[in-house]
């Protein structure tokens, strides 16, 4: 009887936890002691390799990997900084503001180019351009658009084909989507025209890149704008019909960033993990990494990498955000 009760408790517990997290995985559970808790917006599949190599080198360390959205990473870190040792997110602006607000522990003795780190606390470890992913079938024998302008023209030319079949981030829900959108808006007015066109086509809105790609593969949509290329590339290999386009007019490249929580209880292990992560992602020689490496050769200007600077906080200002969102809603949600 008791056992059943316990079993029910465990199942219930897991059920509630599963609701809390998109995914949750423990590595090297055999190791004793409190596990290193990593809160991350990166899918476990993409990150597992990095953790596994670390655990292999440090058999005494166990790691708990907790996946949630970029906005949630920010909220949870602010609410309980002591609950996590490392925070990883693709929303550079939210990460930078966390560090600016004093949630990060600076690391010593990590050599990383200045443009790829902030305050020796926030370290970038990938370079991931935002991409347009299209289903070739939708373009039939027409040329596939290579820039936003060409995309606008293609969408306008055949609204029947694209109505209800285009998708992009819901910037209200996704931190990364908001980052991409604000950076696009900053770069060119074309963004707003594209949003209007997509709004007129009843664009579908997504919380995450993963779901967008899911719908692309199952045919619900034929074009997704500002998809994270790392997620897309993993799927496109198996899907001949999909094509990834890096817009030639102005590519937006994001860097995934990580920092150690200032309230971590294991600063040494967390620091070592960061070093491992940075070293692994900085060396291009090391096999084929599951996550795109940080492009150390490029200065960041060539690929329009979003800079790690206090200016990232601009669009996080509540007034500015409200204004941006209302403009975005005006453009995209035209009922």
């Amino acid at each position: 009887m008791r056992y059943y009760f316990a079993l029910i408790l465990i199942v219930l517990g897991h059920a509630t936890l599963a609701q809390e997290w998109e995914d949750r995985r423990s590595f090297n559970e055999a190791a004793e002691g409190r596990p290193l808790r990593i809160i991350s917006s990166t899918d476990t599949d993409l990150f597992a390799q990095i953790i596994e190599t670390f655990v292999a080198q440090n058999p005494t360390v166990s790691i708990e990997y907790l996946v949630t959205g970029t906005t949630a990473v920010d909220k949870r870190m602010r609410a309980r900084p002591a609950a996590f040792d490392i925070a990883i997110s693709s929303a550079m602006d939210l990460q930078l503001k966390l560090v600016n607000d004093g949630f990060a522990l600076p690391l010593k003795g990590v050599s990383h180019p200045p443009w790829a780190q902030w305050r020796h606390s926030l370290y970038a470890f990938t370079s991931e351009p935002a991409a347009i992913v299209v289903n070739r079938s939708a373009f039939a024998d027409l040329p596939i658009p290579q820039s936003r302008q060409e995309l606008i023209e293609a969408l306008r030319a055949r609204p029947g084909v694209f109505r209800g079949k285009v998708g992009t981030y819901d910037v209200r829900a996704s931190g990364l989507g908001y980052l991409f959108a604000t950076q696009d808006a900053r770069a060119s007015e074309t963004f707003w025209r594209l949003m209007e066109v997509m709004g007129a086509l009843d664009a579908r809105l997504y919380c995450c890149s993963g779901e967008m790609i899911d719908d692309l593969t199952n045919g619900k949509i034929v074009m997704a704008y500002n998809v994270l290329s790392s997620y897309a590339a993993a799927r496109v290999e198996s899907q001949d019909a999909l094509e990834i386009i890096y817009p030639s007019d102005f590519p937006t490249t994001m860097m995934r960033t990580a920092f150690v929580s200032k309230d971590t209880q294991a600063p040494d292990i967390a620091g070592n993990f960061m070093r491992h992560l940075i070293a692994l992602q900085s060396s291009s020689a090391d096999g084929k990494p599951s996550l795109p490496a940080l492009k150390l050769r490029e200065t960041g200007i060539g690929r329009a990498t979003i800079a790690l600077e206090p200016a990232l906080m601009t669009f996080l200002d509540s007034l500015k955000r409200a204004r941006f969102l209302s403009e975005w809603e005006d453009a995209l949600i035209q009922n």
Binding site: N100, R186, E309, P310, A311, T314, S318, L319, R323
Partner: protein, 460 residues
């Protein structure tokens, strides 16, 4: 007179401190103070400049935010330009905080950032979230349709980059200060030795002087040393004066004593002829002997004074020493004959030398006189003159030689040997010889020869 100067000069002076060290120390400590001042001045200036730089960027940023504020339908909109925060990027990734207030109510940003400025712009340093920040407050008034409203903006930035800059500048300032100090130390040593140069020159030129040279120091000296040289000169003048006065006095006294003594002696001599009683005759002989002692002493004193005088103003003339000695021997032969002594001159046929003949003759005469007096009768006295390496005159006899332990002191004034007891003499003979040799830049050597006999050598 030479020994007189010797007794004035002190071998080691008690030293209270070094002028050179004092001068160098003063210069160095001055340089240290200057270097420190330089360091702090540069640092302060750098702080000021760096602070002004940060302030102007913060001000520009605040201004750009205020410019982007607008009022539309009585609703305030603040559209922070991307550049406003972008321009706050620093190499040290300084943290940025901001707050936007409308009439004192927070619109957005960090609420722990308080608005200070009354109107216009206010810049100040503050402590925020455990870090020193530089914060700028600025406000702008908007007139809506029915009311006026004030938008207030506070922008704050940590000062890590500035601290790094300051560290770098401080290091450089320290380097500059240190370099300046090292240079100043080297310079002060150089300056000290330059300043001490004339003093050293004066010292060495006084040290180089001959023992009799009491003439005033005439070379030009720096102004500061003039009083010292003046008093030195006047001291030497007085010394010279009193010395020559005492020499004059001795010569005068000796002369005055000698003449009456000669008279007294002749009277005593005459009286001795007439006295018959043995004890009276004995008394008369003692008297005559005492008179002889006195007149010998007076004579030698006179000679000595004369020599001192001539040595002071040595007048050299070219002479042939062989000639001079032969002349002397000729004159002394009668006395030598009385003791059955023969005077023999050896050596080079001609020994040319530039010196004072009267002094040299006097010296050699004293040596021959000694040889005759302390050597045995019926023997030869050999006088040898050579000019091989240096001019040497030696006089040797075949007597018992100098009494051994006293040989070193016999040249001092009034010093006589044990073997001189009973013979008339003043103890000035060898002193005269030595002074003459010294006046010519030479020296004398007393020696007892192994085959017997005393030998005195004058090397010039």
């Amino acid at each position: 007179m030479a020994s007189g100067i010797d007794s004035i000069m002190v071998d080691s002076q008690a030293i209270s401190s070094s002028l050179r060290a004092r001068l160098a120390l003063t210069l160095i400590s001055g340089a240290a103070v200057l270097a420190l001042l330089l360091y702090f001045a540069v640092r302060n200036y750098a702080v000021q400049v760096a602070q002004e730089g940060q302030d102007s960027i913060l001000t520009a940023s605040v201004t750009s935010i205020l410019d982007a504020a607008s009022i539309r339908n009585d609703v305030v909109e603040v559209d922070i330009p991307y550049a406003a925060f972008s321009m706050l990027s620093t190499p040290a990734d300084d943290r940025v905080f901001y707050a936007i207030y409308q009439d004192g109510a927070l619109l957005s940003g960090y609420q722990d950032l308080e608005f200070y400025g009354e109107t216009g712009k206010a810049i100040q340093s503050n402590l925020l979230r455990g870090a020193t920040v530089r914060q700028v407050s600025a406000s702008r008034i908007f007139i809506g349709t029915d009311r006026r409203t004030e938008i207030q903006i506070v922008l704050a930035q940590t000062q890590d980059a500035m601290a790094e800059t300051l560290d770098r500048i401080s290091r450089n300032a320290a380097l500059i200060g240190g370099g300046f100090f090292v240079l100043a130390v080297a310079l002060s040593f150089w300056a000290t030795s330059v300043a001490m140069g004339p003093l050293n020159k004066l010292t060495s030129s006084i040290t180089r002087r001959g023992p009799q040279d009491l003439s005033p120091f005439k070379k030009p000296v720096p102004q500061e040393m003039a009083p010292l040289v003046n008093s030195l000169n006047s001291l030497m003048g007085r010394l010279d004066h009193s010395l020559s006065q005492s020499e004059d006095f001795i010569a005068e006294a000796a002369h005055r004593v000698r003449t009456p003594l000669a008279t007294v002696r002749s009277y005593a001599e005459a009286t001795l002829q007439r006295v018959d009683k043995e004890e009276n005759r004995e008394a008369m002989r003692s008297m005559i002997r005492a008179i002889d002692e006195s007149s010998r002493a007076a004579g030698q004193l006179l000679d000595h004074a004369m020599i001192t005088f001539r040595a002071d103003h040595l007048e050299r003339q070219e002479i042939d020493l062989v000639d001079l000695v032969q002349d002397l021997v000729l004159r002394m032969n009668p006395i030598a004959d009385m003791k059955d002594l023969s005077l023999v001159v050896h050596g080079d046929p001609v020994v040319a030398y530039a010196g004072d003949p009267i002094l040299l003759q006097n010296a050699i005469r004293n040596l021959i006189d000694n040889a005759m007096r302390y050597g045995p009768p019926d023997s030869t006295i050999e006088i040898t003159l050579t000019a091989a390496l240096k001019v040497q005159i030696s006089v040797r006899d075949h007597g018992p030689g100098f009494p051994d332990p006293e040989i070193k002191t016999l040249t001092t004034r009034f010093q006589r040997g044990k073997n001189a007891e009973g013979s008339i003499g003043s103890g000035l003979g060898l002193t005269i010889v030595q002074d003459v040799a010294a006046a010519h830049g030479g020296e004398i050597e007393l020696a007892n020869l192994s085959e017997g006999g005393a030998c005195v050598t004058i090397s010039l």
